[in-house]
Subunit: 264 residues, 2 copies
């Protein structure tokens, strides 16, 4: 965790009175992803778990779908560069470089809304269900994890869980990065995401829903608000979208049939 924060000497004012104190500030580093010798993108991110981030990013962009496609990963942490070679070679990267989609609510370029809608994930049919109690309990565990890491006020968290327990947890400056780290971890370690749950501390605009749908995750739980495009996509893609989970209250926006209140 210490890697993720940096000490600064700052003036902290109370009313009019300044105090010189040492404060912890979240670190932000650039990470350039070079895919098959072609510079793809530079992400700004928290410095930990860069391999998970890069692999999760490539997964979200539809450039890899599983570990077997990855031939080699080399990280130069000092220079902020990660080199990844895949079986497929460079063919799709080129198209990607020509498209920039900048997302609103916490942007991450994705080709989803372009003509190349071939990337659109198929509808999720998972029959998994969850009870409100299980949602509240998961969010409580998630928030506990988040608290542990939230020393600087500057990070978002994401997790993969089953309906009972948090399995993978990451935080990052960016909530997109946090989710990419979760998926990257799952790909690198072979944890399946189908029939699982993703939790995020951030909002759920369209591209968060798309990220989760790409991983075939049927249930997306957020502490915060969705957007209308996020709601419509979740509806169409078969994702159960749950938001504003706070103090044993929650909003179920789409595919509410997966939320069951009676005993199963």
């Amino acid at each position: 965790m210490t890697d993720n924060v940096e000490k600064y000497t700052i003036s902290q004012f109370t009313e009019e009175v300044p105090n010189i104190i040492e404060d912890l500030v979240t670190r932000e580093v650039p990470l350039t992803i070079i895919l098959n010798n072609q510079e793809l993108v530079t992400l700004l991110c928290s410095p930990a778990n860069l391999d998970c981030l890069a692999i999760g990013f490539l997964f979200a962009e539809g450039l890899i779908s599983n570990k077997s496609e990855i031939k080699k990963i080399t990280i130069d942490g000092q220079r902020g560069v990660i080199r990844i070679s895949t079986e497929e070679g460079t063919e799709f990267a080129h198209e990607l470089l020509f498209k920039r989609l900048i997302t609103s609510a916490c942007g991450r370029g994705a080709a989803f809304y372009t003509a190349a809608d071939a990337q659109h994930p198929s509808k999720i049919e998972s029959q998994i269900v969850i009870s409100p109690k299980e949602v509240y309990s998961l969010v409580e565990k998630f928030s506990y994890h988040s608290q542990v890491f939230k020393t600087t006020g500057g990070v978002h968290s994401a997790a993969l869980s089953d309906i009972h327990n948090i399995l993978v947890f990451y935080d990052d400056l960016g909530r997109h990065n946090a989710i990419d780290k979760v998926f990257g971890h799952c790909i690198l370690t072979g944890i399946p995401t189908e029939d699982h749950v993703v939790l995020t501390s951030g909002r759920t605009p369209s591209e968060m829903v798309l990220k989760v749908a790409k991983g075939k995750v049927p249930i997306l739980i957020s502490i915060s608000a969705p957007t209308d495009l996020g709601v419509r996509l979740a509806n169409d893609l078969g994702v159960t979208l749950i938001g504003f989970v706070r103090n044993k209250r929650m909003n179920v926006y789409t595919n509410g049939w997966r939320v069951v209140t009676d005993g199963r």
Copy 2:
């Protein structure tokens, strides 16, 4: 405001009990910017003030610097397309399309960290000063504006102010969009940004500091946290970076000489 929200029928649970209610959800629309007949980028954003957003985006990317360069703006709101022609023609757009920088904390592609560091803004020398009382008062006014618009929990706000009053206020799904709308508005209406203050509801990682420095704004006030790269850039670029302004407390991270406690 009604344009920025959409009604949805959702299940709101309290404990185990669902209630079918109508809820307001923030709208999210794609906006494709076509600069000199060349598709530049698709932003996801709140649907209002798309001209300000597009112009502010082009300004932040270094593609325009003032209103006189803009020959024509045509908005097709239905299709989410804005066409802008400039005097300069297409020459820089091409390079931009080849670089993707995806920012962590709420991404917005910018060419800042690439080899093309020619875009780097020069150090801000403005001698404007501000007192803690003035900061608290501005944040109070800013928060009041934000409250008015914050019906859905899903927006960020940004404003331009002098040391006493909010002059320009926008909100958007994305805090980058909100800031771009502020700068776009200033460019389109001829409001100067030098010697002024920018307020943001969001965090201040590096690219927020760069955006503000590009507009020659000497003081950046955030309700939330910076990152270390944001702090370092603000220091180098002569920006007074103030964060965590809450309940008459605040942190001054850089260029604290602009914060004066005694009478001027």
